[in-house]
Subunit: 449 residues, 2 copies
């Protein structure tokens, strides 16, 4: 009998131990002791440096308070005051069952702004006030009206968001009771606290920033977001608030926001579900020393705004429920933009692709199947599939030079790039997603409590 | 530096692996030891009485053999011989990356049938021969050609299916080598064995039957199916073969099949994924003593055929990967058929609804959200949601009389009925699905081995 290679044996066993620990750790611990679930777990994909240092944006003040809407012993409501003259823009969920807050924001953005009016945003976590009928609409009116009175601004300039359990009446009195405390606490440097106050199943607060050289001064952009599933009506809506001190008209601002939401927030998917409350608001206070945004500065400003949006969108995926992989899916060579999007999202949303990612299995057959079912025009013999730079399949078959271990090595990384060239045209689309793990099931199969 | 004692290291690691395995629950055991996975696990939703007693269908013979395509020590290839004059009909996956077998079946069904020709079906498990390029097409020709020669029928009348891993060349010689054995084993009573031979991740073989009183005799219908995910290109394609001794023209047969595939096989979803190989073939041998199917008999025959298709479709859901709940989603009152289907499938495919089902959590908010994202016209204030007969939500809000414990009691059942009335029109659609559990992740995240 051959001599045992103990070194190789030890190495293989080490891997086994690692795999066992990885698969065992949270899921089993939690199954055994639900109490342990409350322990703070941070996504393995969270930015290594923590919450970024965000600049003060002139004309934007923040505060947060413990209203006890649902959560105890944590800040769950936050208020943002925006200086007189602030231009507002927004993009919202297209859900036909969207919440009262969303409908109210949409109506207010369509309303003519009184000259020089200030504005405010109030956000609570713990209750989404969605599917709560007319009682819900009354709660929105009570909360935004209360803020309007306290800050001396028109109610048509107070925007609100609610995130949390669906279908339960919002205990809005708990929020209005905190308005005096919120107003007195307003401060220019409270943005991180505000990012914390709106978290639900998020495992880390999300922030991003960029600067642009304007004419006569620097323009600052900063944003915060929450979200760790594209949805989860009782917990994981996506809310995003962006701030800048740029001087810019509401019309120009809205155009820039609308143009860039497609390749950023509308190109991410955790679980293919869409929230009833998704809200993205952008406020420009005009208090920078720089002149009005136009010409080349407008271009640079839009690029910087897009970068902040992209950064926050990817942070939402990094906090995807149960995520262990950040996955970019890059489709090129499609016959049309629609086809490129169909193929990219079919791959990103396929439970079979997502479970293969979780299992670090470079199962390219599932990618072929996802493209096949997507409805996009596809020709088997023209498809090229790459993992990073590794050519996996082409000419209607597995690349003869492809070695499974190369694909496996790519899938062991924390960040994975799946490239599909359809070989038909010039249309392209890139989307981002995460893997589908047991932890996602545990988070979402857990009885609301 | 001290020399590492790899033997000691390996021994200590072995202990660690043993301890970890011991401390872990079943999921971990399986991740660590794929062998354990081979243990026979039968879906908790499997029919309590096992495989039904299926009648002999005159003119249909079956055999099966161990070809060792991938699996060892089990039958993995089956042959069906159909008497001269058999009328054939078929429905296939719409995937644009569908397999060579599927393309071949489609081409053959479109070909004029030589008068009085017999027919045959050959099916293997273990390899789907999908995305295998021209080599794959050659394998289909070799297998169907071999059967044609052995049985003395035209190659255009030999249909084939392959199910199993994708992208690997089909070792077709292992199959053709077994053709003599398959031919000599053909027997009228081999249908259950054939149902077994095509199983992959299926946990039980699926069969159904119905009888119709024809003019001058009884008409028999019997069918078998495999499938335990709508897909899983490397394992869980849906294959269905239906047989009858009815006298009926291929045109009439095809019409009946096409009409009834919508409310049966096209109304089930395990994971929203579509296989590259889904195949449904229906053969009518004409050997019943009953006269040609027409008039009221045609109606009764079509109803019986639909009942068999419905039964098999639900058995596929009952064997859904990891399923613990059989869920019927009944949408009524939609503005159009398309909207009814959109809403029903959005609910059935929502990972959040499916995880709530797994957790026995009557989380109706997720149903509202799924309807909202579906793209179907919906009015929050007109929706009515019921769990069985329990009215959960209406008039844009939770039903005041709804008690959470009533919803919870319904969700604790093995079979769950979710009813949504959109309150807008008269269109309706019913679909069936199962829950999404950790076991689904385990089955699909496991590295192909």
């Amino acid at each position: 009998m051959a001599k045992t290679d103990w070194k190789a044996e030890a190495k293989s066993l080490k891997k086994k131990v690692k795999a066992l620990k990885a698969s065992a750790a949270p899921s089993i611990l939690e199954a055994a002791a639900p109490a342990a679930k409350k322990a703070k777990i941070v996504s393995p994909l969270a930015p290594k440096d923590g919450f970024p240092k965000l600049p003060i944006i002139r004309g934007v003040e923040f505060s947060a308070a413990e209203a006890g809407v649902k959560y105890l012993n944590r800040k769950d409501v936050m208020l943002i005051r925006l200086a007189p003259g602030t231009a507002m823009a927004g993009v919202f969920t297209t859900s036909s069952t969207r919440s009262g807050c969303v409908r109210d924001c949409q109506a207010k953005l369509a309303t003519k702004v009184p000259a020089g009016a200030g504005a405010a945003i109030i956000v609570n976590s713990g209750n989404s006030n969605a599917f709560t009928g007319k009682v819900g609409d009354e709660a929105v009116a009570a909360v935004t009206g209360g803020v309007a009175t306290a800050l001396g601004i028109p109610a048509s300039r107070v925007f609100s968001s609610s995130t949390g359990v669906i279908g339960e009446p919002l205990p809005h009195v708990r929020i209005t009771a905190k308005i005096p405390e919120l107003v007195s606490g307003l401060a220019l440097d409270g943005i991180e606290m505000a990012a914390h106050a709106m978290m639900t199943t998020d495992t880390f607060p999300k922030g991003a920033t960029a600067q642009v050289q304007g004419d006569g001064g620097v323009i600052q952009i900063a944003g915060i977001a929450k979200g760790s599933g594209m949805i989860a009506p009782d917990m994981a809506t996506m809310l995003v608030y962006l701030f800048t001190d740029a001087k810019i008209s509401p019309t120009a601002l809205q155009k820039m926001l609308s143009r860039n939401v497609g390749p950023t927030f509308n190109s991410i998917t955790v679980d293919s579900d869409t929230s009833t409350s998704d809200t993205l608001l952008l406020a420009a206070t005009g208090q920078s020393e720089a002149a009005e945004v136009k010409g080349p500065v407008a271009k640079a400003f839009e690029a910087a705004l897009k970068a902040v949006m992209h950064d926050l969108a990817l942070q939402v995926i990094r906090d995807g429920e149960g995520a262990t992989k950040l996955v970019e899916i890059r489709v090129t060579g499609a016959a049309s933009e629609t086809d490129a999007a169909k193929a990219a999202f079919a791959i990103a949303n396929s439970p079979l692709v997502k479970t293969a990612l979780a299992g670090q299995d470079p199962n390219w057959g599932r990618i072929v199947a996802a493209i096949g079912k997507s409805g996009a025009v596809a020709d088997r013999d023209l498809l090229t599939i790459r993992f990073g730079d590794v050519v996996v399949a082409k000419n209607g078959w597995r690349n003869p030079a492809y070695r499974e271990e190369d694909g496996a090595a790519h899938f062991q990384q924390e960040e994975i790039l799946i490239r599909v060239d359809m070989g038909l045209g010039r249309a392209a689309r890139t989307v981002w997603t995460c893997d589908l793990t047991n932890r996602y099931i545990e988070i979402n199969a857990d009885y609301r409590s």
